[in-house]
């Protein structure tokens, strides 16, 4: 993973990257409200398969989505590295359950390439683009598309 201590300039974009179902993905850090490991999740019977349940986030009810299932990958396997990435989408807080959190990557807009039709079995429409680093290909998720009902 590329580590950088450079000061960010206006052209820079920061991505928080994480592992889900064996793939590495990233989300624009500005979309992220917080990352936590609350797992007092209440299951919601009859909900969509990818909905893990709901969570009390300081008085707010937050839907937790198993990002692995949502993207059509393996469901997130319970482990101590699991995290909820709380994102803000359409004025609503939604939690994305991921396998593990990785680093924050700073890059420039022009480094992001357009997404191929699919990346590691994930539908291309879920991606804004891909970011090539020295040793990895990070899929940049389009949060609004992923969280469309």
């Amino acid at each position: 993973m590329e580590k950088t201590t450079k000061e960010t300039t206006s052209n820079d974009i920061e991505f928080s990257t994480f592992y889900v179902g064996g793939a590495i993905c990233g989300i624009d850090i500005l979309n992220i409200q917080e990352i936590n490991k609350h797992f007092e999740i209440t299951q919601v019977p009859q909900s969509a398969e990818y909905v893990k349940g709901i969570l009390n986030l300081r008085g707010r009810i937050v839907t937790i989505i198993d990002l692995g299932k949502k993207l059509g990958l393996a469901p997130v396997a319970p482990s101590k590295d699991n995290r909820n990435i709380i994102v803000n989408s359409d004025d609503e807080h939604i939690g994305l359950l991921v396998d593990a959190i990785s680093d924050v990557v700073i890059t420039q807009k022009e480094n992001i390439e357009s997404a191929p039709s699919n990346i590691g079995n994930i539908k291309g429409k879920y991606f804004q683009g891909v970011l090539k680093t020295k040793d990895q290909l990070i899929g940049i998720l389009d949060i609004d598309e992923v969280l469309k009902e």
């Binding site: 007092e40 919601v44 909900s47 989505i65």
Partner: protein, 1071 residues
């Protein structure tokens, strides 16, 4: 002018709220053109209507007038009589703008001339010759421009003029007691050379006062032809401030000669003539020449009008520009509106701020305590946080709860003014002023309540003359009552006026095409009355400005339903109308029953909960039945369908093993099954353990263990009532409803979620949706069908009998067979004569003996009354009267008599009729007890018969009651009776004992073989055909008699008509 400042302020605020979204709505309507969005038009229409309504009783005639005309135009658009083109919309927009400015200057509103607007609006409504009207409109617009933006010139003492300042700003400031200063800075000398920032200076000035106007005086800068570089660029600031003149110099940091105090005589307002009006928002740059340009030329042509290009006429009103710009600022939101602002007392907000500050402090202390592992400090701060949180909660709740008096009080004025206006005399009574309600609810019920009260005044209460003609008091009465009931706030508006006529309402609804005639025919009066809630309905013959445009009632219903409330209407024509509104205390907190299934808790709103039911394991088998595929439980005689929440939601059912405490998968397929421990391969329990368990189980039968009981929450939602089977029932709690995210919107089983005391989330169940999910209607139907079939079967077996029902004492219900009743009489108590022990009344030249039931049976005496209902029976050719208490009613019922429980003298048994336990009177026994001598002949006959050898009757009857009754008649008269339960048995008996039998008496309706078939067999078999057959029926119809004759029935007799029956029997047995 209106004296109550608070009410006036409230009205202004509300009206401005109403008007806030109108511009965008109107523009959307304009875009739609001929394709009218009725909902949107309704929104605007209602806003205008509300503003009008309020203005009406506040005495704000100008506002009322304007709103009324706006409403007229909108009403025509709503009825599709007008197509809202851009011209009409702009006139409407201008009208609303004017309305808003009137509301903002409420004190002077009545003096403002709005005839131009009225004229323009009237031109639309009259819709005649639109072209000339247009010309007129332009002029009016110009005039208005002058009125809206009143400008003034300020003449300085040195002869210069500070021109075209908005007069409003100056006047407002003066009204607030502020001094007005004109401060002149020099952009070069004061700013550039001292490297000051003009913005900083302005900000500084803002702290001491209000900026009215700032401008740079280019004319004062001189021209290029002036010798040398211009030495200064004057920067003029018009400022209103409370500071005094002597302070000004130090404060503004300029020399005294640059500060001018503006006094009244320096200000000269500009007259509002169109040709003199300078463009609004004058820029000194544009007015270098200081000669005002003709207005039309300067009006900027609107660029952003949503109208199609062809509409862009030069006469496009300039005022259009503002609304368009505003609508865009509002991010183009169309339609959707949930006003979610709350006005909070600043003092209370300060308290909240204080508390929030305290909270932050305490948090810091807590963090410090935790970091330094200082237990004492942690404890202290947690105590503080505890207290602050409670206070905070209370304060926040306080911001929401308001006494209902805030809105009820104004109705005194509403009713007074309206009744004056309508020439009515009405008294208003308000009860329960201190009932508190959530502010949002309170605000939202204001409009509906206003409509309802106005309707009561306008339509409900009659004029004093009408009232007196109807024998009512001349003064009508309206009662407004608020009270708490069952966790809800009830508001009742009742009047003693003319009430609502259901037929008039329904025919009016049909005439308006709101509903079809065939549907109305099926409706009850109450349903017909409720048709007034339909949109577009109005019973008023004329449109008045008080009420009645068909907005009222549908606004009321929509608003109240949006709040989760219900409205009920109860009206008696001629007596008055009661309207009851039930509202939740607050929208956010609801009392709920907490239940659990598996590991999760679920909340059942208390509103839906009827009762909790626990069926012990030992009773499950008896109490829970299966109807078709569904489980039902019998609850007080009613079949209640059961839904298993776990099945509904697809939750893996588990139960906690009472011995081991471990959780196991539930294996009962049905509720009515018992749990049993079947060893399932894969279930990890070693044999030893299992053996141990088994021995344990032998000791205590687990079926009787408490944990195997079934817990049922009996809930109802609308027409559905069912039992929800859950694993456990917990406490009842007040829960805070939180919305769930959009990914769960499709899960209709939940009404939301809540956070429990332990921080975990629990789902709130939507009881009515659950019922629909389970297709409960089908289940219920199955249950009902089963019950119905059973009932029908019973009905087929049992006979229907016509009974006369009456009462003895108020609470004692009786019935007697109608067939033996001669007639019913009503006599005066004073006509009753007492002769010895006997009561008689003179009647048709004779004396009718009167009895009452208490003389024979163990029942209460008749209550004392002025008159008596007397049922006249004929027994042994003599009439007797039985005195009873009304209502006396005849009905046909299926006899299902319990002849044991309540049997007593003169009472043959009891049955349930119309939910009352009713005793069946045996008239014959009654008479016999009272007058044994009348039956001497029978006694003799019986004695003779016993001597001569008994006559034997074969009696076939399926109903045990009748069998016993009729048999008793026969035995008492000396006959011997062979009983048969149906035709087939009778036939078998007849074959065996034909030698003994003298006569056959048979019922007609019987299972296996009916009376017709039996008779047919008897009559067609030579060995039996000599026997007479008497048929007993409860309801003899012509068809029956015909059919009976054809098969050879000799006589028809009515069951329970003992005398006639016995006479016929005697006749056929040759006695």
């Amino acid at each position: 002018m209106f004296e109550d400042d608070e009410t006036l302020q409230m009205y202004i605020e509300e009206s401005l709220d109403h008007l806030a979204d109108i511009e965008s709505d109107l523009l959307t309507i304009e875009e739609g053109g001929a394709n009218i969005d009725i909902d949107l038009v309704n929104n605007v229409f209602r806003a205008a209507h509300s503003v009008k309504g309020g203005a009406g009783f506040m005495g704000l005639t100008t506002i009322k007038n304007l709103a009324h005309h706006l409403e007229n135009v909108l009403g025509m658009i709503r009825n599709r009589e007008l197509i809202p083109d851009s011209k009409k919309i702009s006139i409407l927009l201008k009208g609303f703008d004017e309305l808003e400015s009137l509301l903002n200057n409420i004190q002077t509103s009545n003096d403002i001339d709005i005839s131009a607007h009225i004229q323009a609006l009237e031109n639309i409504t009259s819709a005649s010759a639109p072209e000339p009207a247009q010309q007129e409109t332009i002029q009016q617009e110009e005039q208005e421009a002058g009125q809206i933006e009143a400008l003034a010139d300020i003449a300085l003492q040195d002869g210069r003029k500070f021109q075209q300042v908005a007069l409003k700003g100056i006047e407002t400031s003066k009204a607030e007691g502020k001094n007005i200063f004109l401060v002149e800075y020099d952009l070069i000398g004061d700013f550039q050379q001292q490297s000051k920032n003009p913005m900083a200076v302005l900000n500084n000035l803002c702290k001491t006062g209000t900026l009215i106007e700032t401008r740079i005086d280019i004319t004062g800068a001189g021209t290029l032809s002036d010798p040398g570089m211009p030495g200064k660029i004057p920067f003029q600031i018009l400022l209103a401030s409370i500071i005094e003149y002597d302070m000004a110099e130090t404060l503004f940091g300029v020399a005294n000669q640059c500060i001018h105090i503006i006094t009244d005589d320096m200000i000269s307002a500009i007259a509002g003539r169109a040709d003199e009006i300078p463009p609004p928002l004058p820029q000194p740059i544009e007015t270098v020449e200081a000669t005002p340009q003709p207005a039309v030329a300067v009006h900027p042509v609107p660029v952003n009008t949503p109208a199609p290009a062809s509409e862009k006429q030069p006469d496009k009103p300039a005022i259009m520009e503002t609304p368009v710009a505003k609508a865009q600022e509002k991010d183009g939101t169309t339609g959707g509106k949930t006003q979610s602002s709350l006005r909070v007392n600043v003092g209370l907000l300060d308290t909240l701020m204080n508390l929030a500050g305290e909270l932050v402090l305490s948090r810091n202390q807590l963090l410090q305590g935790v970091n330094s592992s200082n237990v004492k400090a942690t404890e202290l701060s947690s105590q503080r946080i505890d207290m602050i949180t409670s206070e905070l909660q209370e304060a926040i709740m306080r911001t929401r709860m308001q006494p209902i008096a805030n809105i009820l009080n104004k109705f005194t004025r509403v009713v007074r003014d309206l009744s004056h206006q309508l020439g009515k005399s009405i008294e208003l009574e308000i009860e329960g002023k201190d009932v508190e309600l959530d502010k949002t609810i309170l605000e939202s019920i204001n409009d509906p309540l206003t409509h309802l009260v106005r309707n009561s005044v306008d339509h409900g209460i009659e004029t004093p003359m009408e009232r007196e003609q109807m024998g009512k008091k001349g003064t009508g009465k309206i009662i407004l009552k608020a009270f708490h009931d069952a966790g809800q706030v009830n508001i009742v508006i009742s009047d003693d006026g003319r009430g609502l006529d259901p037929d008039k309402i329904s025919s009016s609804a049909i005439a308006k095409g709101l509903i079809s005639e065939s549907r109305v025919e099926e409706m009850s009066d109450k349903q017909k009355t409720e048709l007034i809630f339909l949109p577009g309905f109005s019973t008023a013959k004329e449109v008045t400005d008080v009420s009645g445009r068909g907005v009222g009632m549908d606004v009321v219903v929509t608003n109240i339903e949006a709040l989760g409330g219900i409205i009920e209407l109860d009206s008696t024509p001629g007596q008055g109308t009661d309207i009851q509104i039930k509202l939740p205390l607050t929208l956010a907190i609801i009392p709920s029953q907490i239940t659990s299934v598996g590991n999760e808790r679920y909340a059942v709103p208390q509103v839906n909960l009827n009762e909790l039911l626990r069926i012990p394991a030992s009773q499950i088998k008896e109490k829970i039945e299966k109807v078709g595929d569904a489980d039902v439980v019998r609850l007080r005689g009613e079949l209640l369908p059961l839904l298993n929440l776990a099945d509904m939601l697809g939750i893996q059912r588990t139960f906690v093993d009472p011995e081991t405490g471990e959780e196991r998968e539930e294996r009962r397929a049905r509720i009515s099954d018992r749990r049993s421990k079947v060893h399932i391969p894969g279930e990890s329990s070693n044999l030893k353990e299992q053996a141990k368990e088994e021995t344990k189980r032998a000791k205590s039968d687990r079926r009787y263990h408490a944990s195997s009981a079934i817990n049922i929450a009996v809930v109802s939602a609308g027409a559905f009532k069912y039992g929800l089977v859950v694993d456990q029932l917990h406490d009842s709690e007040e829960i805070v409803v939180k919305p769930v995210g959009r990914h769960l919107k499709k899960c209709t089983a939940y009404a939301g979620a809540t956070i429990m005391g332990d921080g975990k989330v629990a789902l709130i169940l939507d009881i009515s949706n659950l019922a629909q999910m389970a297709e409960l209607s089908a289940v219920a139907e199955a249950g009902r069908n089963a019950a119905k079939t059973a009932e029908e079967e019973a009905a087929a077996r049992a006979d229907k009998v016509a009974l006369l029902t009456f009462k003895n004492n108020e609470k004692e219900h009786f019935a007697a067979p109608l067939s033996i009743v001669e007639r019913i009489e009503r006599i005066k108590t004073s006509d009753i004569e007492q002769i010895g022990d006997l009561k008689v009344v003179q009647y048709r030249g004779g004396s009718l003996p009167l009895y009452e039931l208490s003389q024979v049976a163990n029942v209460e005496q008749l209550p004392e009354r002025d008159q008596r209902e007397v049922i006249v029976f004929k027994v042994k050719d003599r009439e007797i009267g039985l005195m009873v208490t009304p209502p006396v009613d005849a009905q046909e019922v299926v006899l299902n008599v319990d002849s044991a429980t309540l049997k007593q003298p003169a009472v043959s048994g009891s049955m349930i009729i119309n939910n009352h336990t009713t005793l069946l009177v045996d008239i014959f026994e009654l008479v016999k007890t009272l007058n044994p001598e009348w039956f001497d002949a029978e006694a003799q006959a019986a004695a003779t018969m016993a001597e001569d050898g008994e006559k034997i009757l074969l009696f076939a009857e399926d109903s045990a009651f009748f069998r016993n009754q009729v048999k008793q008649f026969m035995v008492e008269d000396g006959f011997k009776v062979i009983e048969a339960e149906d035709g087939l048995i009778a036939w078998e008996l007849l074959k065996e004992r034909v030698e003994e039998i003298d006569l056959v008496v048979t019922d007609l309706e019987m299972p296996n073989m009916d009376g017709f078939e039996l008779t047919k067999r008897i009559k067609s078999d030579p060995s039996y055909s000599h026997l007479g057959v008497i048929a007993l029926t409860s309801l003899a119809s012509e068809a029956h008699i015909e059919k009976g004759k054809s098969v050879g029935i000799d006589e028809y007799e009515i069951k329970l008509d003992r005398e006639k029956l016995m006479a016929v029997i005697r006749q056929h047995t040759n006695l």
